[in-house]
Symmetry: C2
Subunit: 209 residues, 2 copies
């Protein structure tokens, strides 16, 4: 377990399972079957079990999965059982939306994703705080990334400057990015980029409309 490489499609489904488990009332549903958890996550029971099997054994035959236990195990697998510091570059409309969208985690232990810093070039914005998130100068990227131990960067800057900022973040040791600018970022092998490209989404939708 943990040894073989896990397919990316599998990793991407784990947060889905975790979300369903987190929405569940543990008092009400202390145990859940692959049938029910699969149903609520939109996958087949078999696929759910197969996915989990990449990481170990979490259920009891004839019984099901302990809701609380599986939840914690998924957090551990996703490395969300610790504080994961996220930085946001670009405090335009999109950046603002992301800051407001981010609920500083209702979790009591302060565990999981945490937006700890935003970056912009606008002197009007630098030094301010929005929803408790401090805004730094983009110049301070390397410094702040290290000081605050930021491991994920969200890129919400204009397309023209994305590549440059991307490069600078990599140099500061960041290996995980969520990019909202159109176009592919060329990344070294150990760097992971998840992207959201609105134009591509809309254009493929046009086919189906």
């Amino acid at each position: 377990m943990g040894g073989r490489k896990v397919p990316d499609v599998v990793v991407r489904r784990l947060p889905l399972y975790l979300r369903v488990l987190e929405e569940l009332d543990v008092e009400e549903t202390p145990i859940i079957s692959s049938h029910e958890l699969g149903e609520q996550s939109g996958v087949t029971p078999g696929q759910l079990r197969k996915d989990l099997s990449f990481f170990g054994v979490f259920g009891k035959q004839g019984v099901g999965y302990n809701t609380l236990y599986l939840r914690e195990e998924l957090r551990r697998i996703l490395r969300l059982n610790q504080q994961v510091n996220v930085g946001l570059v670009g405090v335009g409309n999109l950046g603002m939306a992301l800051i407001h969208y981010h609920k500083p985690k209702e979790d009591p232990n302060g565990i999981g994703l945490r937006l700890v810093a935003a970056f912009d070039i606008d002197p009007q914005k630098i030094g301010k705080r929005i929803s408790d998130v401090p805004i730094y100068s983009v110049e301070k990227l390397p410094e702040v990334i290290r000081q605050l131990n930021i491991s994920i960067i969200i890129l919400a800057v204009p397309a023209e400057v994305t590549e440059d900022i991307f490069r600078r973040c990599i140099e500061s040791g960041v290996r995980a990015f969520l990019n909202f600018a159109p176009g592919k970022l060329s990344a070294p092998g150990h760097v992971r980029v998840h992207a959201t490209d609105v134009t591509l989404e809309l254009e493929s939708l046009a086919y189906y409309r």
Copy 2:
């Protein structure tokens, strides 16, 4: 051609090819090979040719693809060779970002995606225009969808109301959606939903960081 059903992965790559072709200078590159177009799109030459073969024959053996012709054919296949009217529900920060992001298409013929209407419940916003896009009351959704012939709706509203607005749009005949709210929308078979779920993206990134 056109008969068999085309895999979704293929449809989703077409806008990528189209983008590369649109960025190309036709004077400079009147003809392009599958090798070069594939390279620039991030796919193998074989995959590019396979993808295109679902829709017909577009190249010349021993030569390559006519840049201008393939561009137009891809637009036709994606149904972007006509004005495609898009509506946006929710003019918060995200909605604003999307409005500003949308360049009303530098295309001379006014062809392709066009954001023609936004909707909100805030009386302060209703009746105004942002970047030329008029803001209507959400109450007017059915009416405006029909009048402006809107075929794609972007959902940028809070999670709690997304399902409801989604339903109302479907009732008004919309069959293609881009959803930014977290959570799965349950849609009838003929309705297509592409989704961007920031939390899921970040949580799966945590695994790779």
